[in-house]
């Protein structure tokens, strides 16, 4: 491949969480950069779902198996345990029903990897608290009126939701403004304040409840 750009750090961290040779479904796979990385470095058998025509075309042209579809409506059609990992990278906040999306992910795969922008990040809090404006950051780069992000949450909110879903967190990483991981032994409130985004590896506790 002729790609010159180096992989995104969050993609590398996700790839770190995936066992080599496993079956992966990337939901909201965009231009397929993560799937490509996983195929190249981890030899995964990867599939993608992407909403935009442009993204799907780019993926198909890269030789990736990607279908045009919507995380909110199409995950229900996937059979139980079809994949080892289901990934939702920077897409959770754009889903209509994040809880159902996560439930489906943990049904389709025993493990799920979710990354999302942390709305508890101090710069976000500061923009709202001191400027009285809806936050616009690198990770949340839209004005309030044209953003695809409709379900924003903090790291704390997310951790609480995972408890409700009958799953647990295997690993978690928060990334600071520079994209560097925050020290693992830092307490939760530090993550929630300093993490601009978070990546979680989730594992389902019990066999899937078929929908």
């Amino acid at each position: 491949m002729t790609k010159a750009a180096s992989p995104r750090l969050d993609h590398l961290l996700i790839a770190d969480m995936v066992d080599a040779g496993s079956r992966v479904l990337d939901v909201g796979c965009g231009d397929g950069a993560l799937l490509r990385l996983l195929a190249d470095r981890k030899r995964v058998d990867g599939r993608g779902v992407e909403l935009s025509q442009r993204g799907v075309n780019e993926c198909v042209a890269k030789g990736l198996s990607v279908i045009q579809g919507d995380a909110d409506t199409d995950l229900a059609d996937y059979p139980d345990d079809g994949f080892d990992y289901v990934i939702l990278s920077q897409t959770l906040q754009a889903t209509r029903r994040p809880r159902e999306a996560l439930q489906n992910m943990l049904r389709i795969g025993r493990r799920a990897i979710v990354s999302f922008p942390n709305f508890g990040y101090w710069r976000v809090r500061a923009q709202l608290a001191f400027r009285g404006r809806m936050p616009v950051t690198g990770n949340l780069a839209y004005s309030w009126h044209d953003t695809p992000n409709i379900h924003l949450c903090t790291i704390r909110d997310f951790v609480e939701l995972i408890d409700l879903l009958g799953a647990h967190i295997e690993r978690g990483v928060a990334l600071d403004h520079a994209g560097a991981p925050i020290r693992v032994n830092a307490p939760w409130w530090v993550w929630n304040l300093l993490g601009e985004q978070a990546i979680f590896l989730l594992e389902r506790d019990a066999p899937p409840r078929s929908s």
Partner: protein, 370 residues
Amino acid sequence: MFPVEQALVTDGGGRIAPLAIGFQTYGELNADRSNAILLCHALTGDQYAAGVNPVTGKPGWWDAMVGPGKPFDTDKYFLICSNVVGGCMGSTGPSSVNPGTGKPYGLDFPVVTIRDMVRAQAMLVDHLGIETLFCVAGGSMGGMQVLQWAASYPERVFSAMPIATAAKHSAQNIGFNEVGRQAVMADPDWRAGRYLEQSVRPEKGLAVARMSAHITYLSEAALQRKFGRKLQDRSAPTFSFDADFQIENYLRYQGVAFVERFDANSYLFVTRACDYFDLAADYGGSLARAFKDTTTRFCVVSFTSDWLYPTSDSRAIVHALNAGGASVSFVEIESDKGHDAFLLHEPMFIATTRGFLEAAAAARGLRAGA
């Protein structure tokens, strides 16, 4: 043309012998015979996918897609396009001579299915000495053949592109086909299918069949944009049943042009084959089972304004492939050109096809230049 010694035994229990299949090839087969692509034509298409069709003098039906540097690159791939059994362009069909009677088959020709068409194609591919097809691609009825190929011969199909198609015909599809067949059979010149012996042809009926079918290939938006209520060569209605409107004139032209190149009985047989198509039914009602453990790479394509084979039909195929764990891509192309979009110059469709084939070629280890 390819005559076979072997008879084709049809799903309906018929027997077609001798069997001839009209076919065309483009490009060159490489040394290890790994670069062959089978193109499957739609209902009334033929083997002339590219270049100039010698019968109509018009460009081949996939001229936009097939040729040097085009997605189906004739510099890189060896393309085979066969006329389906039951057709009328060099393949054995109802206008062929029945060896039992010495007269044209007419309705004595066995009713053929999509699977029969694919069986005949497989005999042709065998004859050409090709074990595994690099790709099988086609739209509409051709797409059904692609699905049937992938289900019947999974180990012989490296990649597959079912385009603007369905795994089964809907009631609406069957309904439109029945209108066409009834139009043919209502023509007094049809003569219970024995018109060739009586040196007549049911041209009016076949033209009507084509006119109604043609509407289903277009979209309401495209028809409106192209024709609206515009009048043809006049400034006011004539208060008669002349073709006052441009759309009437257009459809009449389509009908007339069609009867010049197509046989009425073949029309009955190929539409019937489509109506009988229900791939899941052959696998206990489960489409996923048709593709179980397949290693074929699929790229399913639909068009937003296709109401004959709507995107939901393609989604059903994709769901089944997903459930079977197949490697599948699915693209819905934004187009207002209706079902026929797959035959027209649609840049997004062309780009998708190119990308899919190039990636599949890389996976197969195909190199340019045979």
